[in-house]
Amino acid sequence: MSKRFGGIAALDGVDLQVQPGEIVGLLGPNGAGKSTLFNVICGYLKPDGGGISLDGEDVGHLLPYERVAAGLGRTFQHVRLFRNLTVYENLVVAQHRHLSGGSFSAMLRLPAWRRDERRARERVEAMLDVVNLRPWRDRYPTQLSYGTLRFLELASVLSLEPRVLLLDEPASGIAQKEVEALGPLLTRVRDEQGCALVLIEHDMRLLLSVSERVYALDFGAVIAEGTPDEVVSNDRVLESYLGRTRRAG
């Protein structure tokens, strides 16, 4: 996978493999190309080389919303939500791909619409409990803390039932207590939904505790890959990311 912006190689031959149900961590300094990689995977940016396949099926030619249907879900570095809709309504919008009714059946309140709405309601009510958002059910995003918004965004993307879920710094800007709740939640999500997780995270404790495999990126290339322990003890990773110089001799 490669991506160039002008003369700068933002991604240079990155090869990322994720097994079903696996939790993979991505680490690297700012500008290493982690978010660019997500944007290319999800179809927001066109790669200059390489391809993306999901369960052996090529998804590289699909538009972002089509990749969601193919099973790719993502969250953004800065929370993206519908600010004029309540928590509940945000989650109903996220049921889009599980519903099938057309506008005509809704305008005439046909049984297809009724079935759709019942299905959406049940799914949202269940999701509210998974991420503990029930107390904020009828609140607007502007009335909630940043951490709660993170959980709402996560709940939205989980509602898609993705096969691979890409999380861009889910713990940034949220309270320590919420970070501690995030780790077990991610593991539980993986266990219950069976989806693979790819995690960009600067909170090393969270990243290393939930990831089964870690890739380290720098200057758009993978500089190390392996178990969390292997990667954090890798010399090049220490140098580029953790900022320690190589021991002399």
């Binding site: 969601v68 809709l85 506008s103 809704a106 305008m107 904020w136």
Partner: protein
Amino acid sequence: MAVAVDAPPRNPEAEPRAPSATEGSGRRTRLIGLGLLGLLALLPIPFGDFGFFAGQYALVYAMLGLSVTVVTGYAGLISLMPYSFAGIGAMITGLAMASWGWPFWLAILLGALATIPFSVLVGVASIRLKGLYLAIATLTMANALGETFFQWGDVTGGNTGWLISRPRVGPIDFASDRMFYGLCLAVVLLLLWMVEGLRTSRTGRAMLAVRDNELEAQALGINVYKTKLVALVIGGMIAAIGGGFLAALLLNPTPSAFRPPFAEVTSILLITLVSIGGIDRALGAFFGAIALVIQQQVFQGAEFFFAFFGIYTGFTVILFLMFRPGGLIQIGKLQLALIRERPVLGIAVTVAIVGLNVGIAWLVLSLS
């Protein structure tokens, strides 16, 4: 509209529930809204024939306004073409009735279908253009339509337009203003019910999502362009239905009303009235249309002040957008909440607001 609260309250159950956008209002609020609607529908009666004559216009404006509700209120696309679409509906209805002898209902259906290619054209433009740029593009398209479609003699009947009659269903003749008012009211209620239903559906919610945040909508698997296109097509068809009723109301629809600058000015007026009523709820178009026609009649009665009508509506819409973006519907909901909390004060304020408006209208009328 939402109040920012830093920390979530300990007991959210005790807090008043904020009005919800897609779920629809509570049963009681809805009943009050319907009651108000019924009351307003009876408004022409004390004014006799004149009341029904003006009332027909209000109801046709409400139909046209509902197209703005879908396109601009739900999907957030600022299109300055609703009245051009109404014109297509009016002209095609006239053509089918006057030259081909089609019945009114079939003609109006054809008018609605005829807008689809034009909606698709706007849809293609909306792929690249957003906000103000789309508004300018649609303004240009409205101009272009005025110089092409509405100059096309075979379709528009030339400068004299078409002569048509009002519909008749079995033994019921809707030729009189009173009967036609009743027919329009039934159609407005039907369209209102449909547009409100659209809101709580997969497609309608996708529209609200696209209006709020296109990128996030895409990330949730929503096809943004298709959603916009559906909104434009539905809005165009509703506008054309309104246009068909406008044709039957006028009895002699002429194309000159849909050429520049009248088409653009009226389209802006439609957006204005829907903003005043409440742009993202179906009832807003109804309340806004009635408010507009009442204002129009008051100003028209007050000859001297008539010149100020444009300035007045302009100011009103600015004040609404600044302080009550939810329009009359928002004011109504706030009043209801106040009445529920402090009944005496709430009722007093509501009576004062209504009284003030009636008083100003009376003053303006008696001064001239």
